[in-house]
């Protein structure tokens, strides 16, 4: 080894204060740009938050005027002018119709997402399914209501909660398919390989490794779809009919829903009806909120269980 002469390295650059850790002085222009950007971010956030906060505040304030256990459980009044009566049947209707739609759309949608991401690959059929489901996403909800009306209600000659569930399920399905596919796409390829390398079959790998990993995302996406569906009015207008009394039976008899009550009562010139509309709107927000919270808790517990604590 021959010793070579190495020129001394230049000293570490320091800021005027002599520190190498504190920021070097920003020029005026840079500082201005940075400040401007911060202000814009805050403004954008405020602009986005104001309508949300205002809406929740206003609906809550107005809704609480009539909100009570009575209001939630008593039957609808026969006259819009009546100050008595509640929205019991609509609460029941929204719950059974939305649950019915969720039970149809979510499993089917998740299976569709699994098919598209895990099995279809680049096949023509997969591309077709993907394309159709994208088109389905863009179908206006009223069209979906009319579709179920002509294809189901006119055929069975009865308006039922189930017909409403069908219409809502059609709305939810493409959203659930899309989210499931996207979430499955995010599952690292290495995990699938790890499972298959142990002699696991594809179906088992999907069930035990891929789905648990994607579950939180799929649940979030599905919840959005459910929440949207719970508030839909148009698909229910032709399909579920109307009722004054609570109907827990999804498959027989006409039904009603909170969204339909909001629609009907908010258009009314009578103050008691308008108040009921606010009460119903507040109730709907509450139901969606509670359902979302519950689903999240279930997912967290489930993911903890399959993935171990910590």
């Amino acid at each position: 080894m021959t010793a070579t002469v190495v020129p001394p390295a230049p000293p570490t650059p320091r800021s005027p204060s002599g520190s190498i850790l504190r920021p070097r002085k920003a020029t005026g222009w840079r500082r201005f740009k940075s400040g401007l950007a911060s202000v814009l971010f805050v403004l954008a956030f405020v602009a986005a938050a104001i309508p949300l906060i205002a809406l929740v505040y206003y609906v809550t304030r107005e809704g609480l005027k009539v909100f009570s256990w009575e209001f939630l459980t008593t039957e609808l009044p026969f006259s819009q002018r009546s100050v008595d009566g509640g929205i019991g049947p609509a609460v029941v209707g929204t719950i059974v119709i939305t649950v019915g739609a969720t039970l149809m759309a979510v499993p089917l949608g998740v299976l569709g997402g699994i098919y598209l991401n895990e099995y279809a690959g680049k096949s023509k059929f997969g591309a077709l399914v993907r394309f159709l489901s994208e088109i389905l996403t863009g179908v206006p909800s009223i069209v979906m209501g009319l579709f179920i009306y002509t294809f189901w209600v006119l055929r069975v000659k009865e308006q039922t909660g189930f017909a409403g569930s069908l219409a809502l399920a059609c709305l939810m399905l493409p959203v659930v398919i899309r989210t499931s596919e996207e979430m499955l796409k995010l599952v690292p390829h290495e995990l699938r390989e790890g499972s298959l390398a142990l002699g696991s079959r594809k179906s088992r790998t999907i069930r035990t490794v891929v789905l648990p990993h994607a579950a939180p995302g799929i649940v979030s996406g599905s919840l959005l779809a459910v929440a949207r569906a719970a508030g839909e009015t148009a698909p229910l207008l032709f399909t579920i009919g109307a009722t004054q009394t609570a109907n827990w039976n999804l498959f027989e008899g006409t039904n009603t829903a909170l969204s339909v009550q909001i629609f009907g009562n908010a258009n009314s010139p009578y103050i008691p009806a308008q108040e009921r509309a606010f009460g119903a709107a507040f109730t709907l927000i509450l139901i969606v909120f509670v359902a979302t919270a519950l689903a999240r808790i279930v997912t967290v517990v489930y993911t903890r269980r399959v993935s171990g604590k910590s």
Binding site: L191, R201, S307, G308, S310
Partner: protein
């Protein structure tokens, strides 16, 4: 790493005896067969690769791989980055089936059966031929469930039996002491080196016939590396190991045979990996038959 001499293990030397004559012949002298630990007639061929080529889409990644991998031996794959070591080792348990566009040409037999025949069940192939990947890939499950995953696939349900398998596998992979009190916590909380040992334990838990290890020690400290190397020696009695490594000393220490690959431009100037030389490890490291092997090895040992 110190510059200890590469040879620290006894090696099974001879390749020129009948029965393994298909192992690539070399132009250099062979040490006498008398010192062989394993009697020649017992050394059966597990994998026989002939004219194997692997394509990713239209791009040829490796070509001209002809080699026999003998049972109860450790075969090391060495060579510069990108020369196709991972590509070849993945072709041994049909991992390429999962890569869209990847194609394996030529023939690979496993105990004489064509590995890529349509009648072969890839799941069964992978159960018998375990793999440890270059990047640790623990499942987002508890440590226990990671190890128990394979046995459960094979129908082991009894808790006491699974407990035993888990403990045994983790002990062998030199991880038991570190995790025995937190078997129920997530495997994602492990350090990189611990995760890699978990993956080794997971592969061992299904009791494979062959273990393919793609740089299993690149994230491990010298102590864990030594433990894994000891484990490999121990496992050799029961299974066949193929290991990819960038660590020359490791290849020299643990392997019986070494395959040296390199990547060279083909006629169209695209870099394609190829097998340069395959021989008894001692020969590769002391009297390599190809100047490229020598260059690579001496470059590393400076």
């Amino acid at each position: 790493m110190t510059t200890e001499p590469p040879m620290t293990t006894t090696l099974t030397p001879d390749t020129t005896i009948d029965g393994v004559a298909t192992l690539p012949p070399t132009e250099v002298d062979q040490p006498p067969a008398a010192e062989s630990e394993v009697p020649e007639q017992e050394r059966e061929v597990v994998f026989r690769l002939s004219e194997v080529e692997v394509f990713y889409g239209a791009a040829r990644a490796v070509t001209g791989v002809d080699l026999d991998i003998a049972r109860n031996e450790i075969t090391a794959f060495i060579g510069p980055s990108g020369c196709g070591k991972t590509t070849v080792i993945r072709s041994l348990n049909r991992m390429h089936d999962l890569t869209p566009g990847a194609r394996v040409m030529g023939t690979i037999t496993y105990h004489g059966e064509n590995l890529y025949s349509g009648k072969v069940d890839p799941a069964e192939v992978r159960r018998r031929i375990g793999m440890v990947f270059q990047k640790p890939n623990p499942f987002p499950k508890s440590i226990y469930d990671n190890i128990a995953y394979g046995p459960r696939i094979n129908g082991t349900r009894k808790r006491s039996q699974l407990d035993d398998i888990v403990e045994h596998a983790l002990t062998r992979a030199a991880l038991w002491g570190e995790v025995k009190d937190k078997l129920k916590s997530s495997a994602l909380g492990l350090s990189g080196g611990q995760a890699q040992r978990l993956c080794i334990a997971r592969a061992l838990a299904v009791d494979p016939d062959v273990l393919l290890m793609d740089e299993p020690c690149s994230a491990l400290d010298p102590i864990a590396t030594a433990r894994i190397e000891d484990l490999m020696h121990e496992l050799k009695d029961n299974l066949t190991i193929v290991i990819v490594t960038h660590n020359m000393q490791q290849a020299a220490r643990v392997s019986d045979r070494t395959a040296f690959y390199t990547a060279e431009p083909d006629e169209e100037g695209r870099r394609v990996g190829k097998l340069v030389e395959y021989d008894v490890t001692e020969t590769i490291f002391t009297k390599p038959g190809d100047p490229r092997t020598e260059g690579y090895i001496t470059g590393r040992f400076g």
